[in-house]
Symmetry: C2
DNA sequence: CGGATATACTGAGACAGCCTCAGGTTAAGG
DNA sequence: CCTTAACCTGAGGCTGTCTCAGTATATCCG
């Protein structure tokens, strides 16, 4: 608890809000193009704002990434709740896994930041990551309760599998998205089954 | 074929070889500690060599990484051949997968470089990566031929799974190596089987 | 409307890391 | 020894991060 994680707050003054939003929009575009390591100076330039202004609103790169992906993560968490109400727990889990992988690989570098956030409390995205962890764990437990998923799989392990799939998606060649098949293999296993 | 990939060659003069080796040793240590993004200036400093000397021997970071991991990759390839001679094809494949994952995560950032090399011919590690790809593919085919592994799994997909596991290993918390269980899940699948 | 004031903006500059290249050094062969 | 190709050096240009002293202005309130 040495220092509070920076959660960028929407500022009070009108010009502040304008700049905050402009920076966020520029950041989303830049992250999409160049990944999470996009130049902050470029982002500031695109937002027509001096570099100091960017740092005023987003003191760390992680805080900017967090703000840029906040809505998407919230959607993902909401989706977990929605799917939990579905009839088939295995289908719900599988569907959510696909969605999670897609969110994790919104842009290059995101999975890494999210994974780090999961285990480091002093990080802007930690709270949201924990919430997502819970959502995923609930879906997993439901599927396990129904006897559809092996009982010895932990939520942490599930997220390892999801992160791996997301990493493959963001790192592989542009013309091949391996994550779909990746998840199939994870679900079904690569070893043949006895009939 | 625009430009040849740069494979660092052991230089001719005695002082050149000395420096080359010193840089390589320093690089291995630095990569281990700081990952593949370790400061090249620091590495040069540790090797008691000016920065220009480092660049003379290793014109790109990738070429230094390639040289630093060349032996390990060669061992891995040799191991594939050795295991191919084993009795049980599935055991051979599984054993090799574990070994591959361990090599891929020798230090932070390696998997990314290796994955990029796999699909980009203009890269120092491309040749070795291709050889490794072949070795893995042979083990896979053997296991598939024996009916032990699902026939629709391609070698590319296998490497996706391995890369994912390696990435989890290098990115996860230091006190938990998720790659072991990761591979178990990949092999067996997380969905329960009908008896 | 006209201060007062907290909030916000600016951009120069310190610093770190990458990479190049012109100029100096030296090992090795004859 | 002398030649020469191989090698080494480190200043310097460049990009990018991050800070901070100085300046501007939105907003509130009388």
């Amino acid at each position: 608890m040495a220092d509070e994680p920076y959660i960028a707050r929407r500022p009070k003054r009108a010009d502040g809000r304008r700049n905050y939003d402009a920076i966020l929009a520029a950041a989303r575009k830049a992250f999409e193009t160049d990944g999470s390591e996009a130049s902050l100076e470029d982002i500031a330039g695109q937002a027509q704002v001096a570099i100091g202004t960017l740092y005023r609103h987003f003191p760390t790169r992680a805080s900017l990434v967090e703000a840029a992906t906040r809505d998407g993560l919230a959607d993902l968490i909401a989706e977990a709740d929605r799917l939990a109400a579905e009839a088939d727990p295995l289908e719900a889990l599988a569907a959510w896994m696909g969605r999670a992988v897609r969110h994790f690989s919104t842009f290059r570098g995101l999975v890494g930041i999210l994974t780090a956030s999961m285990y480091d409390e002093g990080t802007p995205s930690h709270a949201a990551c924990s919430a997502m962890h819970q959502g995923g764990a609930r879906l997993l437990e439901a599927a396990q309760g129904a006897g559809r998923v092996r009982a010895d799989l932990t939520a942490d392990e599930l997220f390892d599998l999801l992160s791996g799939a997301a990493w493959v998606r963001e790192s592989g060649p542009a013309d091949r998205d391996g994550s779909e098949r990746f998840l199939t293999m994870v679900l079904e296993g690569i070893v043949t089954r006895e009939a």
